[in-house]
């Protein structure tokens, strides 16, 4: 089984658009979790594994209720969770930004040590 960030985001969107029931999203995530336990899940791309897994684990239990027919999470909660996953390629962009910022940080440290 191969899981990518787009697939996870699609499930979030389908839930928010009403194209997928939360119960179905929960079962989809549960299937991924079970497959993961047997070690047959591959994450594409592998460097996104953490984010993909975080999304799957949010979806697993997304249908939690606090009373019959009353979900724990509002659509706003779900939207926030989806936003926290970031978009496809965000991770790469932030890595590049961090790399670009590094020389100035080193410079700042050196300047401080010279002043001391």
């Amino acid at each position: 089984m191969e899981v990518d960030l787009q697939a996870v985001r699609r499930v979030f969107k389908d839930v928010l658009n009403g194209r997928m029931l939360r119960e179905q999203a929960d079962r989809w995530a549960y299937a991924v979790v079970r497959e993961e336990e047997t070690g047959v899940v591959t994450y594409s791309p592998p460097r996104e594994r953490e984010r993909i897994w975080a999304g799957v684990m949010y979806l697993y239990g997304i249908d939690t209720m606090i009373a019959p027919n009353a979900y724990l999470h509002s659509n706003d909660d779900i939207r926030e969770a989806m936003a926290s996953l970031g978009g496809v390629g965000d991770n790469l962009a932030s890595t590049i930004l961090r790399t670009l910022e590094r020389p100035s940080q080193c410079l700042a440290v050196n300047r401080t040590s010279v002043l001391d």
Partner: protein
């Protein structure tokens, strides 16, 4: 009945999906080349490991497997040889006194079995609701008051 009694007594669909029957073979096959990073003192065969020792074993052997996946919110070694891994609390912003939910994964070091459930927490951090993962597709909720006393199920 409290939340902890509940976890001990219910049959929360224990599963052996986390069991690795080949683990011993695999380890002995690799023993010649693997240099252990940390020495673990021996345990007598019928002795239950103490929570401290369990944590020690967990850090060395199971940690990378379970903690990274299920224990980003913390973990707890129990007296009965089980380790619980807590996922992050997924916040609920409009659920009154309820703060959110988290997934808990429990690993029994004596049997190799795992089980899991979803907990709903209040803003004080008390577990107010438990939803065990059942393989028959039925969903049930077990509710507790703010003191941890069992209220009922639905």
């Amino acid at each position: 009945m409290t939340v902890d009694d509940f976890h001990s007594s219910i049959d929360a669909a224990a599963s052996d999906i986390g069991r690795r029957p080949d683990a011993t073979t695999e380890r002995s096959a690799l023993a010649a080349v693997v240099v252990p990073l940390r020495q673990i003192p021996a345990t007598y065969p019928n002795q239950r490991p103490s929570p401290g020792r369990l944590r020690q074993i967990d850090r060395v052997f199971f940690g990378p497997f379970f903690r990274e996946k299920y224990g980003t919110g913390g973990d707890k070694a129990l007296e009965n040889g089980r380790i619980r891994y807590y996922g992050p609390v997924q916040p609920a912003n409009n659920a009154g006194e309820l703060a959110g939910r988290r997934y808990v994964h429990e690993f029994d070091t004596m049997t190799g079995c795992t089980r899991g459930w979803h907990e709903t927490l209040d803003r004080m951090g008390n577990v107010r609701q438990v939803r065990p993962e059942r393989h028959n597709g039925m969903t049930g909720y077990y509710q507790f008051d703010s003191n941890g006393r069992y209220k009922g199920s639905w």
